[in-house]
Symmetry: C2
Subunit: 557 residues, 2 copies
């Protein structure tokens, strides 16, 4: 295999002759009255004006545990949709929308790569249609309203030391992680500790992604717990009476965004919650809108199958009232070699033994998908350094174990490089499915967590800290326990130790805290330090950015 292109993602994207978005919409059977254009190549879709024609099947793309080698999950997701379209399928792709914060820090976008990209990539990676800004605004309006309530007499008796609700910015800004606010005397608010998260970590992002209607959005916002009173009673947004205002600020952001792939496949890009303290999937609204318009909807979930796919099944699909019809697990020979113990700078040398050492990571993720009653397909995403011996090793392993496997080369070839995978997907979609949840939300909290740790991570069991035990007790007392679990665990390992690559065995997972997110409708289990506000590197990507004379972006990727 030789590399046919040396162009950057941005160069490839800029060479595309995009179709006007109205044309993409028309081809996707989106009625004109449902289309709200944002420039010539982006639009918001008013989902209330979409006819209830179809009930498309859902293909979930997930991956092995992420490594610095990169797996190319978004790229495969885009390429698979293009491949299905080449096979004359009525297909849409539904992706998460990127956060602007990291764009300023580390070169690299979130719109696929090579010839399997969504466009206009510049816009999508910058302000796009303003969804993240609307979420930032709603989040911080709530913060301002909380502090104003306390300043103006604190009728609800909110304890300023027990406020859970933090401010956010769509920015990598470590200096805002921990701040003191309300300084400067009696006219400047009440002093208290606070902190800023990055916008995608806001519960409002999770809510926007899980709400099933504008009414449901408002209802979810109303039940956010913002903190506790001096008597340690929970304070909800509805106690402040501002759920209407927050809904108003989010009403346009709630509409899915239509763009296109390089090959012209319609793409809905909407919502992008963290995949650790939140569920890491694009919005239910976008997925369901796509299902009304297309026979097949290809979508993805964050990190590896232990995090994103598990949450897709147990949180998103459950709350959305649907189930995936096929699951693709993306992996690369390079990634598996890293799981097998090879250092990043030695990945280009053939190493069949290390590859075989790394395969158990893939094996566990395959096993996890089967726990849900779905027969997964491996997408072996090709890289130029892959050798024939390595390819042979993994393909024969898959065949011996009766697992579907397809090579993909979508980065270089677009949809054509995903045809083998697409044919497998079509075969699976033609078979009956027997989807099953991993647990019932009515199960005890500890039992739900144990189900995930034992059956998805492959751990022996769970240890709960005293703090977590106390929190679970409180959650039960308040009647908040009938909710799915959102595990906040390192993405690098199946265990809670990021250094344990491959398929760790004989481990327990420690749950340090259990935090109720009633608006999102899940209980977050912290198993380690989770960074909710990233920092910038020593040489931020911002230093290379500029605008060309024609107004287009430079140095973005």
């Amino acid at each position: 295999m030789t590399l046919k292109t040396t162009l950057s993602d941005l160069e490839i994207a800029n060479k595309v002759a995009m179709k006007p978005i109205a044309e993409i919409a028309e081809a996707a059977n989106i009625p004109e009255e449902a289309l709200e254009q944002y420039g010539k190549y982006k639009a918001k879709i008013d989902h209330t004006k979409i006819p209830q024609n179809l009930e498309g099947k859902v293909v979930l793309v997930t991956a092995t545990s992420p490594t610095p080698a990169g797996e190319g999950k978004s790229t495969v997701t885009v390429g698979l949709s293009d491949a299905l379209r080449q096979l004359d399928q009525n297909v849409m792709v539904a992706l998460r929308e990127p956060s602007l914060g990291p764009v300023m820090g580390i070169k690299g976008g979130a719109t696929g790569g090579g010839y399997a990209q969504v466009v206009p990539m510049q816009d999508i990676n910058l302000h796009f249609t303003g969804d993240l800004h609307a979420i930032t605004t709603a989040n911080n309006a709530l913060s301002a309203l909380i502090d104003n309530h306390i300043h103006q007499g604190n009728e609800l008796g909110i304890d300023p030391r027990r406020i859970l609700w933090k401010r956010v910015l769509d920015m990598n800004d470590r200096s805002l992680r921990k701040v003191l606010i309300g300084l400067g005397g009696p006219t400047q608010g009440v002093p208290r500790e606070d902190g800023f998260d990055i916008t995608v970590a806001s519960e409002i992002m999770a809510i926007l992604c899980l709400a099933t209607s504008l009414e449901n959005l408002k209802e979810r916002l109303s039940r956010i717990v913002i903190g506790y009173t001096y008597e340690k009673k929970p304070v909800y947004v509805k106690d402040l009476g501002v759920e209407g205002a927050l809904t108003l600020l989010l009403k346009d952001a709630f509409k899915p965004n239509l763009v296109q792939t390089i090959e012209g496949t319609p793409a809905l890009i909407h919502g992008g919650p963290f995949a650790n303290i939140a569920h890491g999937c694009n919005s239910i609204m976008a997925t369901q809108t796509a299902r009304k318009l297309a026979d097949i909807v290809v979508t993805e979930a964050g990190f590896g199958a232990d995090l994103g796919a598990e949450k897709f099944m147990n949180i998103k699909a459950r709350q959305g009232g649907f189930a995936p019809d096929a699951v693709v697990v993306v992996t690369t020979i390079r990634a598996l070699k890293m799981h097998g113990g090879v250092a990043k700078n030695e990945l280009s040398s053939e190493n069949v033994a290390a590859l075989k050492n790394g395969i158990p990571n893939l094996e566990k993720h395959i096993d996890s998908i089967r726990q849900f009653g779905i027969e997964p397909i491996i997408a072996l995403n090709r890289f130029i350094s892959d050798t024939e011996n390595e390819l042979e090793a993994i393909i024969s392993w898959a065949h011996q174990n009766g697992i579907r496997i397809a090579r993909t080369n979508v980065w270089e070839e677009g949809g054509k490089g995903g045809l083998e995978l697409a044919n497998h997907v079509l075969e699976v979609l033609g078979q009956p499915k027997s989807f099953t949840h991993l647990y019932e939300t009515s199960d005890p909290v500890e039992k739900k967590i144990e189900a995930i740790v034992q059956r998805i991570y492959g751990g022996n069991g769970v240890q709960f800290t005293d703090k977590a035990k106390k929190q679970i007790y409180q959650i039960e007392q308040f009647g908040w326990d009938d909710l799915p679990i959102c595990m906040a665990k390192t993405q690098y390992s199946l265990s809670d130790n990021p250094n344990e690559l491959g398929r760790p065995e004989n481990f327990t997972v420690t749950v340090r805290e259990v935090i109720p997110k009633l608006g999102a409708g899940f209980l977050v289990c912290l198993t380690g330090e989770i960074m909710t506000m990233p920092g910038l590197p020593k040489k931020p990507a911002a230093l290379k950015m500029d605008v060309a004379e024609d107004g287009s972006a430079l140095g973005l990727f």
Copy 2:
């Protein structure tokens, strides 16, 4: 005069059958390739694709010193443009865009009122096309980059105690006025004092409004002074090397936004800087784009003529390379009665004596406009409580003093209520003009400030605090003195004492600080406490907001 409508502004706006924005654009001779739609009724205009056909005349709408009675400057601005259109003129109106922060706090928009409004008012008053969000992002990206620079070794030697650049949010949030950031230990940045302003107070807002091209925008961003080194040397954005990234974040926000008035007159709404610490006018880019497309451009400036109009002449028009061709001074009988000593709750009773007592405020603003070589027109904005005796008193005063005066009733009648004013404007536009600046930027700093205080405010002179004197000395040392002055003064009085209504005499103005804003290109003179981050009231407007079933806003106005 009887009131013909009892509908709210929102109800009136919602009853309008808006034209598709493409139709408005076509009628305004905006080429299709220059139009970037944002939904069906908003668009951004790519000014580089507008033909250089016309060189429209500029009508500036200003007002007497603001009172709680309200003058209706934006309403008259919109109504005048509709009236000119009714007289078959090729006209556009160019307005400031509102800040979202105050919308959450105090009911009331910034899009005119009654039958003289711009629409869609809901959108304009909420996120609109995202300009303010882009400014917030660029501002805070710069903050994050500054703090990251210090955290990563501080190569430039920035003194964390001498950073001038503050963070911003488009929010009324008093608790963020003064904060401590960078807390939590060595991985969380360097602790320092900081504070948040509201986005419209950001220097980047002023820069966006004064830049004359994308290149000029970048150049202005590069010369922002963000603070000083340990050696007290200024640190510019160009020293950090991030002006390209900031320009990239602002490239779409830099394009003017097209909407329409209720009567279908094309309106450009773009930029809205504070009228105290900044210059309070819409963008040069919008005004100049409108001048290319229309024979007459009606625009406004913030607060009374002493602030907005003075800055329009000495800052905006100077930096934009044009001059206003006519000036309208809006006043009301109610406002003048307040300047004459009447309390707000007694305004509905006839009081000719108080009216006559208040006229000197109007008289001084008329005199100020004449200082620029322009003969102003008074727009007497009618209110239902005005009596015939009161009307007679002010009209005969104007006639005796040879001042043009026109009654306007645009709130109730739309353009029809502005025809008398429009005819006066057309007569003035037909006469030769002899515009002159109040001072040269090359004059000494003190002399420029004195010119404004003596000739515009009617004061005896200026007192400079020791701090201000030292700052002026430093400004001269750094070679930053060849810039116009941006006075930050109370809007309620011609003096620097907000309680002195009418036309104060025998006063001096105290300049406490002089702050260089090199990106904006002016020197801010603080004459009192200027609030750059408002707070929310005890019962914020947010409590009444909601979304109707059809997705439209409720309780917004």
